[in-house]
Symmetry: C2
C-alpha cells in the first residue's frame, strides 16, 4: 500500500470544475477547439477519436456526448466553421480589388494559399474525413456551392468588362477552374517534396489560360 499523498499535490487532474449553470455550451466550444488543435497537429481528421478529443480538452470521454451525438457530428460542426472562415478569407482578400481580372486571380491565389497554410483544415473540408459532406448534392446551398457561385460571378465580371472573352458560360468555367484550384491545393499539400513552381506564377498562368484573360494584369 502506497503512502497517502496530499491530494493537492497529486498529478492526476482533479474533477473538473463544472461550468456555471446555463454555460454548458462553453464545453462545446472547448471540444471544437481541442479537435481543431488535433487537426492542425495531425494534418487531417483521421486520428480524431472521441477519446482523443475529450482528452485534449481535459475532460472525460463521455462528456463529448453532452454536446454531440457522436464524433461525426463534432466533425461536421468543425468543418462548418472552417468553411465559413475560408470563405471569409477569400472575400476579404478580393473585396478591395476593383479590377475584375485581378480580383479573380487574387481570389484563386488566396484559395490555394489558405490550403497551404492550413492543410488540416483543407483536408477536413474537401477530403474524405467527414463523410456527410459528400452526400449533399449540387443544388443544395452547401459551402462548396457558394464558393462555386462566387467564382462564377467573378468570372462573369471579367467577361462583362471585356477582360475575358464571353466564349463560355461562367458557371461551366467556374466548375473547371474550381477543380483545377483543388488539384493545385491538394497536390501541393500532399506532395510537398515536389519542386512546385512559385504559387503566384502558377495561379496567374492557370487563370489566364483557362479563362482567357486578354492581357496579363500588371504586377
Amino acid at each position: 500500500v502506497s503512502a497517502s499523498v496530499d491530494p493537492a499535490e497529486q498529478s492526476a487532474t482533479p474533477r473538473r470544475r463544472a461550468n456555471q449553470r446555463g454555460r454548458g455550451e462553453r464545453l462545446r466550444e472547448e471540444l471544437l477547439e481541442a479537435a481543431g488543435a488535433l487537426v492542425a497537429e495531425q494534418g487531417d481528421a483521421r486520428g480524431l477519436s472521441l477519446r482523443a478529443v475529450a482528452s485534449a480538452a481535459g475532460v472525460a470521454a463521455t462528456s463529448v456526448y453532452l454536446h454531440f451525438a457522436d464524433l461525426e457530428e463534432l466533425k461536421v460542426a468543425l468543418a462548418q466553421r472552417y468553411f465559413a472562415e475560408f470563405a471569409a478569407a477569400r472575400d476579404a482578400a478580393a473585396s478591395s480589388i476593383t479590377d475584375p481580372a485581378e480580383a479573380l486571380i487574387v481570389r484563386c491565389r488566396v484559395y490555394v494559399q489558405y490550403a497551404l497554410d492550413h492543410p488540416g483544415r483543407y483536408r477536413v473540408m474537401f477530403g474524405r474525413d467527414v463523410p456527410p459532406l459528400h452526400e449533399a448534392d449540387d443544388a443544395a446551398p452547401t459551402p462548396s456551392r457558394s464558393a462555386l457561385d462566387t467564382l462564377a460571378e467573378s468570372i462573369a465580371a471579367c467577361q462583362r468588362t471585356g477582360a475575358a472573352p464571353a466564349d463560355a458560360a461562367p458557371t461551366g468555367l467556374a466548375t473547371l477552374l474550381f477543380s483545377c484550384l483543388h488539384g493545385q491545393a491538394i497536390l501541393r499539400i500532399d506532395r510537398p517534396r515536389f519542386s512546385w513552381p512559385p504559387l503566384d506564377h502558377a495561379i496567374k498562368e492557370l487563370v489566364t489560360r483557362l479563362i482567357g484573360l486578354r492581357a496579363p494584369t500588371r504586377n
Copy 2:
C-alpha cells in the same frame, strides 16, 4: 457438452494446405489480391488492416509477416502495381492516335476515366493512404514523375507540330495540366452527387484552353 461432430462437416476452415515448397510466393500474390479486393470494395485503403487482409485471403493473421514486414509494405507493393497498370492504360489508349492534339486529349480523358472506374486504386496512388509515396522528391523516377514526363512530351509534340503555341515550356504546362486532371479526378470521385458536366466535354475544354490548342479537334 455438445455432441461430437464429424470434422469433415465442421464449418470452421481446416488448416490451409501449405503451398508446395518453393511456391511460397503464391501467398504473397493472394494477399495482394485480397487487399486489392478490399480496396475496390471500400473505396480506399484506410480500412486495410493486417487482420482484414489475412482474413480475406483465408489465412492466419500472422501469415502476412511471411511476405511483408508490415501492412505498409504491402500497401506500397499494391500501389506499385496500380501505378504500372494505370500508366499502361494511358499508353494503350494514346498509342494508336497519330494526331498529337487528339492524343493529348485522349491521354487526359483516360486519366480521369481510369480514376472514375477505379476510385479505390486512384486513392491508393494519389491519396494519403500510403504515406511512403509522398516522401519521394521531384527528381526521383517515381511513377508520378514519369506520368508528368509523358504528359510533357505529349504537349511538346503539339507545340512542335504547331497544334499548340510554344508560348510556355512543356514541363511547366504539364505540371499545371497534371494538377488540373488530378482535381477533376479526385473531385468527381469524392463529390459524386454534384452534377458534373460530361467528362469528354470537360476534358476537351480544359486541355484546349490550358495548352492553347489552335482548333478544336474533330469529333
